[in-house]
């Protein structure tokens, strides 16, 4: 049943991260042809932004080492489907541009500890590394998304001060990023914290139109946090088909918000997404079979048990 609520947007753009953020965090390496079929099925289900892969060095992310083989298989999707790719540095940018990428993303950290562990750099050094990447991308009219991880809590530093996140977020925008994706990488955020960060960004001139939210369901909070962000005017929400990327039974659970759970809420609220939930669910059931484990998405489970 569709019952709108006051003060929410009419339409939300879902930034689908399952093929990149999801598969990057799965133990199994998925064959290139399966990835290509996955992305084709996601697009056929109505998702218009499907993050496709990463040009991080294969040593760090062997699951996505086939980026050069994968992207050419997606050319038939045409311009209606945006296929951003993650690019860590200028070498990655070269590889992405050589394949005709028109949207890239850089991956920053709001905390020093995660920057050191994930990027082997300070936050300032990582921003310096992104600077020529973003500059050259903009020269080529390539759209740039700036991921900002650990925006709420950090496993080593604990709660992350809002002012610290705002500072790094503004630095990413100052580099030339077209949009930000604010990540609750360990899933600890609650709705007041989300609103406080969005308010602080707004006070610094960073409006909701340049912000995407990226919540993890590690503590079950992702949809409540999404509702809080929607109430604040955010219209771009990251999610992962079937909840890919966080095996709920493993200690390493990252717990991406499942796209199906998000779509159930958005459609229930009368918010347009363009997504065909049945087709998306069927895609996630198929992908779960490829991975040999059930989807952690509650909506996928509920709908597929009814089939």
């Amino acid at each position: 049943m569709t019952v709108p609520a006051a003060g929410l947007p009419a339409r939300v753009r879902i930034h689908e991260v399952g093929a990149r953020d999801g598969l990057q965090n799965e133990k199994a390496t998925v064959p290139t042809e399966v990835k290509a079929e996955f992305i084709h099925r996601l697009a056929a289900a109505g998702l218009t932004t499907v993050e496709a892969t990463s040009f991080v060095h294969p040593r760090w992310v062997p699951q996505l080492a086939d980026a050069e083989e994968l992207l050419p298989r997606l050319g038939d999707l045409g311009p209606a489907v945006a296929l951003p790719v993650l690019v860590p540095n200028e070498r990655g940018l070269d590889r992405a541009l050589a394949l005709g990428a028109t949207r890239i993303a850089v991956f920053g950290s709001a905390t020093e500890t995660f920057a050191a562990r994930n990027l082997n750099r300070t936050v300032a050094e990582s921003l310096a590394m992104f600077e020529p990447v973003v500059e050259r991308a903009k020269q080529d009219k390539v759209h740039v998304r700036g991921y900002l991880s650990m925006c709420f809590g950090d496993p080593w530093e604990g709660p992350v001060p809002v002012a610290q996140v705002v500072r790094v977020a503004k630095a990413l925008l100052d580099l030339g990023c077209d949009e930000l994706s604010l990540g609750d990488t360990i899933g600890v955020a609650t709705p007041g914290h989300v609103q406080a960060l969005l308010s602080a960004l707004g006070e610094e001139g960073v409006g909701a139109d340049r912000i995407g939210v990226h919540f993890h369901d590690t503590y079950g909070q992702a949809l409540a946090n999404t509702l809080a962000a929607l109430q604040h005017g955010v219209t771009t929400v990251d999610a992962s088909a079937g909840g890919l990327g966080g095996c709920p039974y493993a200690k390493s659970a990252t717990g991406n918000l499942a796209t199906e759970d998000l779509v159930w809420m958005l459609h229930g609220l009368g918010i347009e997404t363009g997504v065909d939930l049945a087709a998306l669910t069927a895609t996630s059931v198929w992908m779960a079979e490829q991975l040999g484990r059930p989807s952690p998405s509650r909506t996928v489970r509920a709908l597929s048990h009814k089939e």
Copy 2:
């Protein structure tokens, strides 16, 4: 990290349903001494309302056939912990009163189909059955909660009109119920629907102070719906320790909202509950061992993996 949000209550009373609604829907029948220890541990973790058992005929709910043996084991909890019990009819009321129950609950349906299937009566006939129960309870100064199931969707009837729910809700209050618990029994509701129902009740003079909400996580919506209810002024929320009562792997999943997931959100919002989350999580981990299956609560999984 605690970050309050505007417009939310300072304190929420959690109505813990794990020992009754949870265990009633588990396949395994739990020994009486385990139930007693469970309820003692829930109370020790700070829960002040713990629904203890049901006086439904054992033929219908064999899992709770030991109500007469269980309640005397809880006498040492004293008046600080409310121990409501479910009572279907006058025979059940007699049994509950004989054991000194001071709080009871009746279980109604907003839809005719579920009333027919669950109560073998029309909605009107079920209200007539409750009438002497509530009347006699009130004479004995017993607090009466009225459960109203299928308030949003019904597996046979589909979406349930708000006006229909309001009509039955008012009838339960007219019988003398002190509070209502509005149930999303199949977990399909989304936040706009929640707010629409609460608004419609408010227009009929039923304020949030007489309403509890009872959400199921079948589609992952329970916490977002809870946030919407809190924003509407509701301060009583039903939840089940560890998410008991809905095995997420079974077709019959009911998917009660896990108390731990709720507490994580409430405490993150700076809302007092009186609950010690670590003690509650330890209780749910222990109960999961008794049942031989992992808790479906994401917070229980996240916190217990860190231990």
